[in-house]
C-alpha cells in the first residue's frame, strides 16, 4: 500500500549561522493493506515529521514515496487533492482538529463537500448518520459543539470525518496519549474494528509500547531520525537486537534504567555522523563510527547495528 524508499528530510536551524539538521535520515519501509506498522521512539526523534512527510503534508528533501505503486513524491497539488482522500491523519490533540465554532454535523460534512463525495444534501445527511453510528456516537452529538464533547468522543468524531472519505491509509499520531485508560481502550478497539471492516493500513505512532504492541503487526523503532530496528511486534519486544531498543524496552516494561539516563535529547543536530547511538552505547566499537545499514537478523526482522 505504502512504500517509502530512503526518505530524508533536512530542516535548516539557526538564524545567522544556518546549519542543516537531518530530521529524517534515509528511512525506508513498507506497509501493506490491512496492516499496522507501529512507530516508536522518544519525543523529538522525528516520528511526527516522518508521518507528515509520508503524507506529503511537508515536502521531502530526498527519497521516494509510493502510494499503491504510484509515486507521489513529486505529485502536484491537483493530484495530491485526489490522493488525500485515500491518505488521512489523526492527530494527538483532536480538539484542535475541529473548528470550535462549527457544530459537529458541519465539521463532518465539510470534508465530504470539499471532496464532492455526496451528490446532494440528502445523501450527505444520510451518510453522516451512518458514520456517526459506526463510531459509536448518536444523532444527539451532531448538534453539539466540540467543547461539549469529551476527549474520547472528539476522537471518534475525527475518525468519522476521516472515514467519510473512505481512506485506505491512516496515520495515527499518538491518538490516545491524552485519554484515560478505559476511554483509550474503547477508542483503540474502535480503530481495530474499523481496520478489519475496511481493510485500512495504519501507521501508528505512539510512545506507549503496550499500546503499540496491541495495535501493530510490525514495529519500527526510531532514534534520531533513523529506523534502528524494524520487525514483527513480538520479536522486537521479546528479543530486541539493537542496544537502543533493549534500553527502551527495559525502561518501559520493567521500569528499569539501563544507563539510558545519560542519553541526551535524540535531536539529530549534535549527534555523530556514524551510528547515532554509539556515544551512549555500551557495546560500541570503532566500527560504529561508520553508518550501519539495516541488516536482516531473522525473518522480517531488521536491525541497524554493527555489533549484531
Amino acid at each position: 500500500m505504502i512504500r517509502v524508499e530512503s526518505l530524508t528530510k533536512v530542516f535548516t536551524a539557526g538564524v545567522f549561522k544556518k546549519r542543516p539538521v537531518n530530521v529524517i535520515d534515509d528511512v525506508s519501509f513498507t506497509i501493506s493493506a490491512g496492516e499496522t506498522l507501529g512507530l516508536v521512539g522518544e519525543s523529538g526523534c522525528g516520528k511526527s515529521t516522518l508521518a507528515r512527510v509520508v503524507l506529503r503534508l511537508i515536502p521531502p528533501s530526498g527519497g521516494r514515496i509510493f502510494f499503491k505503486d504510484t509515486e507521489i513524491t513529486k505529485a502536484n497539488p491537483k493530484e495530491l487533492k485526489k490522493i488525500r482522500t485515500k491518505m488521512q491523519i489523526i492527530f494527538q490533540h483532536p480538539e484542535s482538529a475541529l473548528n470550535p465554532r462549527m457544530k459537529i454535523y458541519n465539521s463532518l460534512v465539510e470534508a465530504m463537500r470539499l471532496q464532492q463525495i455526496a451528490n446532494n444534501r440528502r445523501e450527505e445527511g444520510a451518510k453522516v448518520y451512518q458514520l456517526i453510528e459506526l463510531v459509536g456516537l448518536n444523532e444527539e452529538h451532531l448538534e453539539r459543539y466540540p467543547h461539549e464533547l469529551s476527549g474520547g468522543q472528539i476522537q471518534r468524531v475525527v475518525l468519522a470525518r476521516i472515514l467519510s472519505l473512505q481512506p485506505e491509509f491512516i496515520v495515527a499520531d499518538e491518538p490516545t496519549s491524552m485519554l484515560d485508560l478505559s476511554v483509550q481502550a474503547q477508542v483503540l478497539n474502535l480503530f481495530k474494528e474499523i481496520q478489519h471492516k475496511f481493510n485500512i493500513a495504519y501507521l501508528f505512532i505512539s510512545h506507549d509500547l503496550d499500546v503499540v504492541r496491541w495495535m501493530s503487526d510490525r514495529i519500527a523503532v526510531m532514534y534520531a531520525g533513523r529506523i534502528v530496528e524494524i520487525g514483527p511486534v513480538d520479536k522486537v519486544r521479546e528479543n530486541p537486537r539493537h542496544p537502543y531498543t533493549s534500553a527502551l524496552v527495559d525502561a518501559f516494561f520493567a521500569l528499569k534504567n539501563s544507563g539510558i539516563d545519560k542519553i541526551p535529547d535524540p535531536k539529530a543536530d549534535k549527534l555523530p555522523a556514524g551510528c547515532k547511538f554509539y556515544p551512549y552505547c555500551l557495546k560500541a566499537g570503532d566500527i560504529c563510527k561508520k553508518k550501519p545499514d539495516l541488516k536482516k537478523v531473522a525473518e522480517d526482522h531488521f536491525v541497524a547495528c554493527w555489533q549484531v
Binding site: 519525543s43 485508560l181 478505559s182 481502550a185 503496550d210 527502551l248 521500569l255 539516563d261
Partner: protein, 312 residues
C-alpha cells in the same frame, strides 16, 4: 506508625452556575510517615482536587468540609499566614506538566535558589551551590550548566527534576506529586520515576502520588487508593489492589490497560453534578443488581484493605 497526614470525612464542593459539583465526597485517608500512597483514577474523578485541598489551593467557589490533620493540627482551621508557612516548607507540591509549571523567562537556577533562600534562609552564593548539589543528587547531567539555562533549553525529564528540586527546597516532610509522568515518553518517564524513588527512599519523605499510570503506581507506591466519581472505592497495599482488585471499578480499570487485553469499561464517567443514586459505579458495573441503585455502599475494611462495594 502514626499518620503524618490524616484526612477525615473530607468533602470538597464547587459551587458553579450549573449546580454543586461534588469533587470529593466523604474521603477518609491516612498517610503514614515514610510511606508512598498512590491515588489513581480517571480524569475528573477528583484526584487533583484532593491534592489541592490538602494545600488549600482551591479557587474561591470551592467549599471544604471535614478535617485534614497534618502532624496533629487541622489544616482547614489554619489562618492564611499559617497555611502559607506550611506550603513548600512542610508540604510541597510537584505539579503536573513540567513544561508549563516553570517560569519561562527566568533561569532554572534562579527558580530553585528563590525557594532555597526563602525556606532555608541561605545566602545567594550558598543557595546556588545547594541548587547544583540537589540537581546532582537527582542525576541531572552537567548541573552547573543547567542552572544557567532557561526552561526551553531543557528536556521534559530535566524540567521535572528542576521542579522536584524546587519542591524539595524547603525539605518538606510530605510531597504531593500531581501526575508527574503525564504525557512523557518511556525514557523520560523512567528518569522521573527514579527521581521520585530517590526522593522518598533516600530522604524518607512521605509522598502522595496522584497518577493514572498504573505501571508507575505499581513501581513506586506502598499503598494505593482508587478514586471514582469523587469517592475512594478501594484502598489497600499496592500489591493487593493491583494484584487482586476487589472493587469492580478497579478490576475494569486494570482490564482496560493495554497489557491486560484492552477491555474497556462500558459507558463513561458520570458528571459530578448529577451523580447516580446508590453506588456511583452501578450504571457501568457488570455485577450490579437492583440494590446497588438504592443503597450507597460504605467503605468496608477487610483483611487490611478497604472496599466500597455492597458485595464485600
Amino acid at each position: 506508625m502514626a499518620a503524618l497526614l490524616s484526612i477525615q470525612k473530607l468533602r470538597t464542593i464547587f459551587y458553579t452556575e450549573k449546580g454543586r459539583v461534588k469533587a470529593a465526597d466523604d474521603i477518609n485517608l491516612d498517610i503514614a510517615e515514610g510511606k508512598t500512597v498512590g491515588l489513581i483514577g480517571e480524569t475528573g474523578c477528583g484526584k487533583s482536587v484532593l491534592g489541592l485541598s490538602i494545600l488549600r489551593l482551591l479557587p474561591r467557589n470551592a467549599g471544604i468540609e471535614g478535617k485534614i490533620c497534618y502532624k496533629g493540627q487541622d489544616i482547614l482551621r489554619l489562618s492564611g499566614e499559617q497555611i502559607r508557612r506550611l506550603r513548600g516548607k512542610e508540604i510541597a507540591l510537584i505539579p503536573q506538566s513540567p513544561s508549563t509549571s516553570l517560569n519561562p523567562v527566568l533561569k532554572t537556577g534562579v527558580q530553585i535558589t528563590e525557594a532555597l533562600q526563602l525556606h532555608q534562609k541561605l545566602a545567594r552564593e550558598e543557595a546556588w551551590k545547594a541548587a547544583v548539589e540537589m540537581l546532582q543528587s537527582f542525576n541531572l547531567p552537567d548541573p552547573e550548566r543547567r542552572v544557567k539555562e532557561y526552561p526551553h533549553q531543557l528536556s521534559g525529564g530535566m524540567k521535572q527534576r528542576i521542579l522536584a528540586a524546587i519542591g524539595m527546597a524547603g525539605k518538606p516532610s510530605l510531597i504531593i506529586a500531581d501526575e508527574p509522568t503525564k504525557g512523557l515518553d518511556a525514557i523520560i518517564r523512567i528518569q522521573v520515576v527514579e527521581v521520585l524513588h530517590h526522593l522518598t527512599k533516600k530522604t524518607g519523605a512521605t509522598m502522595l502520588l496522584i497518577t493514572h499510570d498504573l505501571k508507575v503506581a505499581a513501581g513506586l507506591c506502598d499503598e494505593i487508593a482508587v478514586m471514582y466519581a469523587g469517592e475512594i472505592v478501594e484502598h489497600g497495599p499496592a500489591e493487593e489492589v493491583l494484584g487482586h482488585p476487589r472493587h469492580p471499578y478497579t478490576m475494569g480499570l486494570l482490564a482496560s490497560s493495554p497489557n491486560n487485553g484492552l477491555k474497556p469499561i462500558r459507558g463513561c464517567s458520570p458528571s459530578l453534578i448529577n451523580l447516580p443514586a446508590g453506588c456511583k459505579f452501578h450504571p457501568r458495573c457488570g455485577k450490579a443488581r437492583e440494590i446497588c441503585a438504592k443503597k450507597h455502599p460504605p467503605l468496608v475494611t477487610k483483611n487490611g484493605s478497604q472496599v466500597r462495594c455492597i458485595f464485600h
